[in-house]
């Protein structure tokens, strides 16, 4: 640790678990999405899991710990320009949580995942599998949403690539270990930045309740018991 730096815990366990589960499931979706009908059953199950995770993350963005909240990391254009200057100058990051650009990336990724899950619900593979809501629409509509599902996946790959490139930029050119921080929750920050926002951690029990709510919502969408 350099002089004038301090270690601060910023990411709570739910955020970290969400992140890495999503990474694993995303890789699984990539594989099963390209592997044809044998894997389609598992592709759909993993899709439900991702939808539940994303819905949980949205709820957590309102009720979670300080740095998990949208209000703490979505900021206006001037803050984004300021952030960009910081990044290009490779100055140590003054942001304890997501920086303003990264914050918008979080929202864009969540929305793209939501769109992916939504179109997947109505998609079909012209063979033996179709999403649980495909029966509600015509074949033509289902086909169109399947095309969106395929296009949006390429967009997701692009977004994931940009996200990864940004993290590697931080690691390589700014000597900031964001990947490690997403495992441990602890970030190394300039001493003056860490004090800026006091981090309040929300209860993990609340996270479990919200995850259960999200999972139940997915169950209702998939099974439509009513």
């Amino acid at each position: 640790m350099g002089a004038g730096e301090t270690q601060v815990k910023v990411w709570d366990a739910p955020v970290r678990l969400f992140h890495w589960l999503l990474v694993l499931l995303f890789a699984f979706m990539f594989f099963t999405g390209k592997s044809g009908s044998d894997w389609m059953e598992w592709h759909m199950r993993a899709g439900y899991a991702i939808l539940a995770l994303v819905l949980f993350r949205i709820l957590w963005g309102f009720a979670g710990s300080t740095h998990a909240r949208f209000s703490s990391f979505l900021s206006g254009p001037s803050a984004c320009i300021e952030c960009l200057k910081h990044l290009l100058a490779r100055k140590p990051s003054p942001y304890p949580g997501h920086n303003p650009l990264g914050g918008w990336m979080v929202l864009v990724l969540l929305l793209a995942l939501l769109f992916q899950a939504g179109t997947g619900m109505f998609a079909n593979d012209d063979l033996l599998s179709e999403g649980p809501l495909a029966a509600l629409v015509s074949k033509a509509t289902s086909d169109q949403l399947t095309v969106f599902h395929v296009w949006n996946f390429n967009l997701l790959l692009l977004l994931a690539g940009v996200h990864l490139a940004a993290v590697l930029y931080h690691a390589g050119l700014m000597k900031e270990n964001l990947i490690g921080a997403m495992f441990t929750g602890v970030k190394r920050l300039p001493a003056d930045a860490a004090g800026g926002v006091a981090t309040r951690f929300a209860s993990p029990w609340l996270a479990l309740v919200l995850l259960a709510v999200a999972a139940f919502a997915v169950y209702l969408i998939v099974k439509r018991p009513f």
């Binding site: 044809g36 009908s37 044998d38 593979d125 012209d126 063979l127 033996l128 399947t146 095309v147 395929v150």
Partner: protein, 151 residues
């Protein structure tokens, strides 16, 4: 009189032959419709068997026999619709259909063979045989879609 009649008969014959030839040349957009219709119907008759295989519907040997027999015949219908004249038509057929013709033909033959097995087992009311053959049919559909159909 006789020659006149003969001339008429011949000219009708020639005209008729010409128009028959024109009819025999199905237009490219009709050929695309033909193969898409054959595919749609295959999906229509495969679906209920698939639901039974997954356990989503109770096994019904009569429905399986009827659907598998339709399927066996439908599996032979799309291929002459992939005529070179349809290359420019809007469809999901990948260019490989027309460039990698040997592989495409092999994929078509596989589907015909697999659906024939399914049809035979279904008509014999052999449920175990149907279950064994079904996987082969699904694989034949899927692998050909992967190689020769745009998403």
């Amino acid at each position: 009189m006789r020659t006149k009649l003969l001339a008429t008969v011949i000219s009708i014959g020639v005209l008729g032959g010409a128009s028959l030839e024109a009819l025999a040349q199905a237009k490219p957009d009709v050929l695309v419709k033909q193969r898409q219709a054959a595919m749609t119907l295959q999906g229509k008759y495969l679906g209920p068997i698939g639901a039974m295989m997954k356990g989503a519907a109770p096994y019904n040997a009569d429905v399986v026999a009827l659907n598998a027999t339709f399927l066996e015949n439908l599996a032979r219908m799309p291929w002459d619709g992939f005529d070179a004249s349809t290359k420019g038509e809007k469809s999901k057929a990948k260019p490989e259909v027309f460039t990698d013709t040997a592989k495409f033909k092999a994929a078509a033959d596989t589907l015909e063979a697999e659906t024939a097995k399914l049809g035979a087992a279904a008509r014999a009311k052999n449920e175990a045989g149907v279950r064994a053959a079904f996987g082969g049919v699904a694989k034949a559909c899927g692998s050909c879609h992967d190689g020769f159909r745009e998403k």
